[in-house]
Symmetry: C2
Subunit: 181 residues, 2 copies
């Protein structure tokens, strides 16, 4: 449901081609709404049909490598995006196979065997956290209080940091609990 708006947002920030979008998703907006290039191309199709984006004129006649089809947001698209941003939603439930695994291990009396699984979860969460922190240092080290856009982008990154921190902390706590018993 939100994918189309994630794409509209990305194209509002800067127009681009399908593949560019796919790459941006891999390293920025996709942190909170992941998507593959297949999804993106399909959605670009839909958005075009709905008149929310349009294909920009190309230099050469035919699209090709180095000269791909590029898309921009139409005025209707922008209005629709602004409307959507104001809408109230329901928070996505926290889905976690790790929580299910732990409960499964508890139910079957094999709690200590879940340790590797937990350690793997912790390492991956920590890797996410480190990645976010590097971005923070690189892009948000100096603060200009008058730059609201910059501050908001930082704020979104902080969401990732705080949620991943909660996860890492929880994994450590749980591992300690397993060691104690």
């Amino acid at each position: 449901m939100s994918l189309k708006f994630a794409i509209l947002t990305s194209l509002t920030e800067r127009e681009g081609s399908g593949i560019e979008l796919a790459r941006r998703f891999d390293k920025s907006i996709g942190y909170f709404w992941p998507a593959t290039h297949q999804q993106i191309y399909r959605e670009l199709d839909h958005l075009g049909t709905a008149g929310l984006i349009r294909e920009l004129p190309l230099e050469g006649a035919t699209p090709s490598r180095g000269n791909p089809r590029r898309f921009g947001v139409t005025p209707e698209g922008r209005v629709r995006l602004e409307e959507w941003a104001r809408e109230l939603g329901t928070p996505e439930p926290v889905k976690s196979a790790m929580a299910v695994r732990l409960r499964a291990a508890a139910a079957t009396g094999t709690a200590h065997e879940v340790r590797h699984s937990l350690e793997s979860e912790r390492e991956q969460r920590r890797a996410n956290l480190d990645r976010y922190r590097q971005i923070e240092e690189r892009d948000f080290a100096d603060v200009d209080p008058s730059d609201t856009l910059h501050a908001l982008q930082h704020q979104i990154l902080k969401l990732g940091i705080q949620v991943e921190q909660a996860w890492v902390g929880w994994c450590d706590e749980t591992l300690a609990l397993l060691s104690a018993s």
Copy 2:
């Protein structure tokens, strides 16, 4: 992918009927792997075919209200569940329409209009948090250090608490940022 194991876990903890499972999902294991009754019935079907659960004999001949079909985990099912709990997975990405909304509002220069959306998110996150804390008070007030099962169940609840806390904190921070600018 994890739904089948969530069901196996729930049936390991206690055998039950489809509707009972649906209700348990609404108020316990489903906090970390939500499922509707339609999904559950379909999956019970699959699990039965795969020999991981079996239908328990009924009192009366025909299932009916007050005497529904009941399911239990087979030995194979239990083994499969224990195996799965040991497997390593990839953490589910944090998906959040709220983060996309905020970024959309920033990109379109309508940041202050996202305030209601954020307040709504905060209230719902806080409601989740309160619910979890009530369960904690009710079920985990007294600690028996020798009861590992109890401790692990508490730990799973704490995951929900800590993640929702991170969310509520982030919403407050973001609202403060919007007020300041």
